[in-house]
Subunit: 622 residues, 2 copies
Amino acid sequence: MSLTDLLLGKPLATSEEHSEQIGASSGVAIFGLDGLSSAAYGPEAALTLLLPLGFAGIEHIVPITAAIIGLLLIVFVSYRQTIDAYPNGGGSYTVATENLGVSAGLLAAAALMIDYVLTAAVGISAGVGALISAVPTLQPHTLSLCLGILAVLTLINLRGVRDTGLIILVPTYLFIGSLLLLIGLGLFHTIVAGGHPHAVIHPPKLPGATEALSFWLLLKVFSSGCTAMTGVEAVSNGANAFREPRAPTAKKTLTVIIATLVALLAGIAFLCRAYNVGATDPNSPHYQSVLSELLQAVTGRGIFYWVAMSSILLVLALSANTAFAGFPRVLRVIALNGYLPRVFTLRGRRLLYSWGVYLLVLLTAMLLLIFRGVTDRLIPLYAIGAFLAFTLSQAGMVEHWRKNPGKGSRFKMLVNGIGAFATGITTLVVLVTKFVSGAWVTALLIPLLIMVMVMVHHHYERVRREISTDAPLDTTGLLEPFVIVPIDRWSRISEKALRLAMVMSSEVQAVHVMAEEDGQQVTICDEWEQMVVTPLRAANRPVPELVTLSSPFRFVLLPMVKHVLEQEKRYADRHIAVLVPELVVKHWYENLLHNQRGNLLKLLLLVRGNQRIFVINIPWYL
Amino acid sequence: MSLTDLLLGKPLATSEEHSEQIGASSGVAIFGLDGLSSAAYGPEAALTLLLPLGFAGIEHIVPITAAIIGLLLIVFVSYRQTIDAYPNGGGSYTVATENLGVSAGLLAAAALMIDYVLTAAVGISAGVGALISAVPTLQPHTLSLCLGILAVLTLINLRGVRDTGLIILVPTYLFIGSLLLLIGLGLFHTIVAGGHPHAVIHPPKLPGATEALSFWLLLKVFSSGCTAMTGVEAVSNGANAFREPRAPTAKKTLTVIIATLVALLAGIAFLCRAYNVGATDPNSPHYQSVLSELLQAVTGRGIFYWVAMSSILLVLALSANTAFAGFPRVLRVIALNGYLPRVFTLRGRRLLYSWGVYLLVLLTAMLLLIFRGVTDRLIPLYAIGAFLAFTLSQAGMVEHWRKNPGKGSRFKMLVNGIGAFATGITTLVVLVTKFVSGAWVTALLIPLLIMVMVMVHHHYERVRREISTDAPLDTTGLLEPFVIVPIDRWSRISEKALRLAMVMSSEVQAVHVMAEEDGQQVTICDEWEQMVVTPLRAANRPVPELVTLSSPFRFVLLPMVKHVLEQEKRYADRHIAVLVPELVVKHWYENLLHNQRGNLLKLLLLVRGNQRIFVINIPWYL
């Protein structure tokens, strides 16, 4: 068993694909982690913006959460419909392309790609950030911790989809379980206490109000809270990873994820109001996360607190994993349409789209390095991509129902229309409120990515037009190539090259460049006469011509290339073959002892040559 | 005129060699700079070691300098004899090899290589060190200044030998002129004042004696002072750069260099005693160089002081240039004997041994980076190489006279014997006194270098034995190759490949690997029938066989390579040609859009293939 096998698992045959496909319970962990972990920061983001309203602000979290849940349910219904319509995956990109055209599809593609990379970077940095809040001594190692987690995630994912599911199953269900238990306990205490439960540890007092309630503020709170929705598109994007019957399994998974997320969001909002838990200033040294406050209020600082907090940290970091599952699949779909390099459609030894994983790791590492692993600096770039994709997907579904009218299609169109409008507004609000602090980067990247994709497509189309043909093999004008054999001095290598040239064509020309250093001039002509001409005459065979080129500037390759191009002009109806002998050494460092003229000649002929010149590489094994 | 031409000069033809050869006046600057600049640190090194004797120590500088001059004259006479015996250059390496055998030659070679690299590094760092003594604010930029000077020297040298001479002529003659003027003025004042001249600016008082005179101390002083002799072998190493009549021109150059150096050393020693100038502690903040003290004592701190000091700084930095002239030439001679890669024997566009220059620049930059450009840390590694080379050269000359007896050969043998003995002792003293502080590095590097050279030679010998042949062309068994054409789907490229295969052999086999992703399975067999078999049957030509290979693990290349190796076994008397089509794109980044299977296949075939498998590279230009 090799090290590679040990680290990455044995290669899987294409026929083993079935067993790599997943069911609903693994699916919840693999595709739901990102969406579910949003519960750990979505409500907090909303409560933080409500801080200026003071104690009164907490009251507003319930209606706002209700609005978010409403929007979430609309998106949920829309995506269930999408899975039915597109059971092979593709999500926003496929829906937008098929219903709104290529441009909208590329816009969705760019948005999704940015969203996924940011999901990975934000997930990792938020996890590390939370860890550092708990263990402040780790602060100086932020970036190393981020990159370390990225490395571990990469290794886990390169083992393939099924293994990934098994590894992340435990923390995900621990996270769901402990938060649901928290909510259940809190509800029980609240009901027992008649709506006013007694906190085990009281949450910190809120500062007085500094601002009055305004529609603009509520809109901002709503759009901040909407970060809780990022990641719910993963299931429909990756639907083809599910076991047959595919669509029902995928829809079941999505339902479980959304139901859990709704329960978490609703429960957290309800308990915040019941226990009077508000956000704390993230810039203050006494900062504490809302979930930590809630846990302390309901259960105190016991073992349960630490288990729940650990699962939150772990799930935040692992939420990046959703990007590992979704990003390569999105790239694959785009690449299948010819808008990204074809390498993203290839599956590696463990049946996953390896190159997509590599690109994700590279881009995430770059983001983490540029922003030094600090979540706050990454957040303003985030969410726009996700909401742009939501908007395009739902606008696409509106068009889908218009094109495919049927029973209930008018109602479905209305639902999707409301969704498209709401997420579209959210996209605009996020863009406007976060433009200066970083959203401009995303706004700039999207057109850039679209341009790249268009150029890639253009290139592939050009190549396809140029090389594809419906004509059968042309059997006319099959002429032997004119073979040129560069020769330095008589050796076993030149003998081998000459023999091969003579069996491949009856027209062979040996070429010698006179560029020897003074005192070393070899009289190739004498050797040629004795070693080649005499035996060939004796065997009554045609004798190749010997051409010697002089080189006043001691260059060997340029005169050779010039000569080849001249011969190409001379024999306008022939192919010109150049035999390049090459020493093959046992160890790479032995190459340092031999000049790389052979390789350079091949390169020069490739760069300056044309359709009718080709190279025959004669290896000589030492 | 291209940028390369502007920076490096136009390429020179081999026939222009004559005009690149130099006369005695340029030779003094090019090959003498290192030896002459030693006058700026040799006497100072001796005086520093005399410091513990206090005021009385200065007295001893005159007899010790006399001893050094005596040794220098012996070395001078020896090298004059060497130039006569070996007018084409090679110095210690050639002399030791021809007279003492290969092992002694390799020892000399290793010593010379180390010596030259250290000459470059020490010259540059000493120059920068002196500059920083004058302008202390430059201190933080030591390393950058060192690397900057290295870059300038590289550029100057890549223009070629003659241009180099012109550029360094001025500072060298300014240095010689101002030091000789200083000595002349000092002598004049001393004679006028009856042996006790009045100093314009008094040198600092010397501390009291802390140690008594001992033979061991004098030996150390002598060997430290001997650093003034480094660099005098450059002329005989590079003798073939001189204009004809070569030997007389070279000897004239050597005479001028040695005479000047003797005058400088004697003058400095005499004036030091006359003006009571001793060294100052190099670790004290009031450190001042001996030459600076002398200049102030004789002429004060006027314009002459600054001109002389500038020329000293410049010449120290430029003394590295001797290494640029000598190192590539030494490498060339060693490489001609097959002990170093052959690339060192090639001359570049400006007729110099470019690769030697590149290696020197690389090694010098590494040394400067490792030792942060501080001379003090480099010095202990230095001098051993030079004296080891002297010793071997002179021991070789002793053997030379023994082998070639003639008029005066016994006397010459005696002179060389004394030289060999004296320099041998010096080598040992330097090694012992500086072993712990850095000489061990050199002592370790020398056997390592010898090992590398022996291995290089071994490799070349093996290759030569394997590929050289005295047998003429074998005209029997000339069989057509068996040609394999990998085919993906029918396209213009596969058509071109197939047509070329068919003209080169009558036995062609097309191979298709079934590794397509699900849903994309191409029925190559149908296409083959329609596009290839039908037209060939119609034209009454042989039809190539189509082989399809299945690939359960989706690998494309490994089954192909396996198949090629199987065919090779099947046709034991044939060569197997594999046609590898390759897309040639206009811009490098377009390569990212195409898989590199062609290149990988070539690489795999090279690594896993053998003497009877070769690759035909079919380019397709987009």
